[in-house]
């Protein structure tokens, strides 16, 4: 570890000569240790992966457009569902939030950079290596993993040549996330400007702090689980092999011990961004700041003790079913606190509806819908009907797409003017919002009906009675997919100059009351807060 610190020291020395701008040329992006550069890299990489995973989703929806086999082989279809999930979770949503953390946390807490800049660079490039390794499995003998993103044995052990590569890529992605998490914790604990006490931190920083702890607690468990798969397949161990005294259900327990906190790793920073954006456009301080902090911490704690609600049908005894059922229902309380707080923040506010706010409001409404279906499934006896059907697909897509992804879009629109110094095109932004908000419901809402009627997930073909809703869902999917090209256009257009309108430092009216980043010029200089700020905004408290 001392090596990291020593190297960091060199960087620091450069720093004090001042007027040290970015490197020239492409090398800048490879060797950079600047938090803004690395944040940009993460965000652009996540955007690229969002489209890669999106193309996979389009293949899935095209195949399901009509009953019968149309375009792809069943094996490839299953690879698509598996890879779509892995790419979106580990390649798009998680890196996008790490990118936001890199850009915003130092600026929000008045720090000059992340605490460990060299490790920051490394965690990004390890992520790229991990995702490339994962993508390479698509071209291997036997195809990419096709057993679902949960990688359940014994099915996943039937993967062809791709299995060890997929497992190593999970290791790399885990190492990258853990390094990122350690960096974020060190930054938040040790780099805050004087006067920026923990309970004055913006909620985005708080939610990321808690997320980072979740990451270092559960990514190693997942690494362990896939290592057991690896040794079961190649080194004769029998962790999950019944013939050798193991038990495949054990894998499900270990996986979901990681998997449930993992779900919150994707949603907690979402809550943080929503809590940052809504007060600015409601022109009111966030309602119940400290209750938001405690609710986030409670959700994180509960995430560790509810994992078996993913396995209600596995043959648990009554006591287990009841415990996991009630524990799961408990999560609705802190989550409800958050939803009420967002609503109360908007209550009697002087609201305006710029694109970031539109996405945030849609998030509050549609995330709540996803939360309600989650409550339905927490009821163990009902879950037997919903388990492994399109109902669960609808549920987690509601909590991920119109929640996490919408908030990532909102964050993009909200901070792009700050990052680039240019204003995005509000008209196209709003068009993007309305197309996305309508089509995402056409896409996912019918999947509730399909699931309740009994359509199983992860299958390339289905009985004819499911045809109508599948076609509607696919049409929604195609509109949603195409609409995202507008976002790509806006990002490129804004970087190139946008509307040409000169943006002020605070961009949004009175935003300087809500966060330190709005006291900096737009775009901020390459190095910011080399001397800590003295005035800490307290509007959110």
């Amino acid at each position: 570890m001392s090596a990291v610190i020593a190297e960091h020291d060199d960087h620091h020395d450069d720093h004090e000569h001042h007027d040290h701008g970015p490197e020239k040329g492409l090398l800048r992006w490879i060797i950079t240790t600047n938090h803004k550069d690395i944040g940009t890299l993460y965000l652009l990489f996540a955007l690229a992966m969002f489209f890669v995973g999106g193309i996979m989703a389009m293949i899935i929806r095209a195949e399901l457009f009509e009953p019968g086999m149309q375009f792809v082989q069943p094996q490839f279809f299953n690879s698509m569902t598996t890879m779509h999930a892995l790419v979106m979770v580990f390649g798009a949503v998680m890196p996008a939030f790490v990118g936001l953390a890199n850009w915003m946390i130092p600026m929000m807490i008045g720090a000059p950079d992340m605490a460990l800049p060299r490790m920051n660079n490394m965690s990004f490039w390890v992520l790229v290596a991990g995702v490339l390794l994962l993508a390479s499995t698509l071209f291997m003998e036997g195809g990419a993993p096709a057993g679902g993103w949960t990688l359940y044995p014994p099915l996943v052990l039937q993967t062809g040549k791709a299995l060890p590569f997929a497992i190593f890529s999970v290791h790399l992605l885990g190492i990258s996330s853990i390094m990122g998490a350690i960096n974020i914790i060190a930054t938040i604990f040790n780099m805050r400007a004087p006067g920026m006490t923990l309970m004055k931190m913006p909620l985005f920083v708080w939610t990321w702090l808690i997320t980072a702890f979740l990451l270092i607690a559960v990514m190693p468990v997942f690494a362990g689980a896939v290592t057991m798969l690896l040794t079961d397949k190649f080194f004769g161990t029998s962790f999950f092999d019944a013939a050798g005294g193991g038990d495949p259900v054990l894998y499900q327990h270990i996986f979901w011990f990681f998997g449930h906190p993992e779900v919150y790793i994707m949603i907690l920073p979402t809550f943080g961004v929503a809590s940052t954006i809504i007060p600015v456009f409601a022109r009111k301080p966030l309602f119940g700041y400290s209750s938001m902090v405690y609710a986030t911490a409670s959700i994180a704690f509960l995430s560790f003790i509810v994992w078996a609600h993913h396995m209600f049908t596995v043959g648990m005894p009554m006591a287990g079913e009841l415990y996991f059922m009630y524990a799961t229902m408990l999560i609705a309380i802190p989550t409800g606190v958050k939803v009420f707080n967002w609503t109360a923040t908007m209550w009697k506010g002087s609201m305006t509806f710029e694109t970031p706010m539109l996405f945030s409001i849609a998030f509050v409404v549609l995330f709540t819908l996803g939360g309600f279906t989650g409550l339905m499934m927490s009821i163990a006896p009902s879950d037997f009907q919903y388990h492994d059907t399109y109902f669960i697909v609808a549920h987690f897509h509601y909590t991920l797409v119109p929640a996490s992804v919408f908030i990532l879009m909102a964050a993009g629109y909200y901070w792009l003017p700050k990052w680039t110094g240019h204003m995005y095109n509000e008209k196209i932004g709003q068009l993007h919002f309305w197309l996305s908000a309508v089509s995402v419901n056409i896409l996912f809402f019918p999947q509730h009906f399909l699931g309740l009627a009994g359509m199983p997930r992860r299958i390339p073909d289905y009985a004819v009675q499911f045809a109508d809703w599948n076609m509607i869902s696919s049409i929604g999917g195609f509109i949603f997919g195409a609409s995202q090209l507008l976002f790509l256009y806006i990002v490129i257009d804004t970087i190139k100059g946008g509307t040409g309108e000169k943006v002020t430092d605070e961009v949004w009216e009175d935003a300087h009351k809500h966060g330190l980043e709005w006291t900096l010029p737009s775009p901020p200089p390459y190095h910011t807060f080399t001397t800590p700020p003295t005035v800490i905004p307290t509007e959110h408290i």
């Binding site: 570890m1 001392s2 990291v4 610190i5 960091h8 020291d9 620091h12 000059p112 605490a115 460990l116 014994p154 853990i178 998490a181 350690i182 914790i185 060190a186 604990f189 040790n190 780099m191 270092i216 607690a217 559960v218 990514m219 190693p220 468990v221 997942f222 690494a223 362990g224 689980a225 057991m228 004769g236 962790f239 092999d241 019944a242 013939a243 050798g244 005294g245 038990d247 259900v249 054990l250 327990h253 270990i254 011990f257 043959g315 648990m316 005894p317 287990g320």
Partner: protein, 181 residues
């Protein structure tokens, strides 16, 4: 950045890495924890994998329980495997013997292991076997077929709500793993 912050960072990183390593270990620790929990609670239909001594129970002639036998092969192992009878009506406390037939359909010797499972899982602790082909790996010569007995008793303490017990065996072809040993 001052020396102070660097020291704080080093200390913090050390603690966090300790957590990472600890949680990696915890993932592995879940394996024995899981086994112990299943053992204590008798969940999961896990059955004793060794023979129990034959003890005499009072035979409850008034109570009749159906014991069903299911046989299956893992990943289409090249075998024939069936039970002599599909189900048996039994009295708790009385010993019964049921024959199972397994045959190697290949021209090579085979090592296979049968894994039992009992459902409902909570009834498993009342189902005692004094003799079973599942206690050890079975070796088959090429094309060999074997008749293998299972001797069992259901403890009369079995709670009254259990009227049917299903005993399922899955044969796993372990030839490759045994060769590697």
């Amino acid at each position: 950045m001052s020396l102070d912050i660097k020291q704080k960072n080093t200390k913090l990183i050390r603690t966090l890495l300790f957590v990472v390593v600890g949680m990696f270990g915890f993932g592995y620790a879940l394996v024995p924890i899981y086994d112990v929990l299943c053992d204590i609670t008798g969940l999961n239909g896990k059955v004793e994998s060794t023979a129990v001594k034959e003890v005499v129970f009072p035979i409850d002639k008034n109570r009749e329980i159906t014991v069903e036998f299911i046989t299956s092969l893992n990943e289409s192992a090249p075998m024939v495997f069936r039970a002599e009878t599909n189900k048996l009506k039994i009295h708790p406390g009385q010993y019964y013997t049921v024959n199972f037939y397994a045959e190697n359909k290949t021209d090579k010797p085979m090592v296979a292991q049968a894994i039992p499972s009992i459902s409902p899982g909570l009834a498993a602790e009342y189902f005692k076997k004094t003799e079973c082909f599942c206690f050890t790996e079975q070796t088959f010569k090429a094309r060999e077929g074997k008749l293998m007995p299972v001797r069992f008793v259901v403890n009369p303490d079995l709670p009254p709500q259990y009227k049917t017990i299903t005993l399922a065996y899955t044969f796993f072809d372990n030839t490759e793993k045994s060769v590697n040993k």
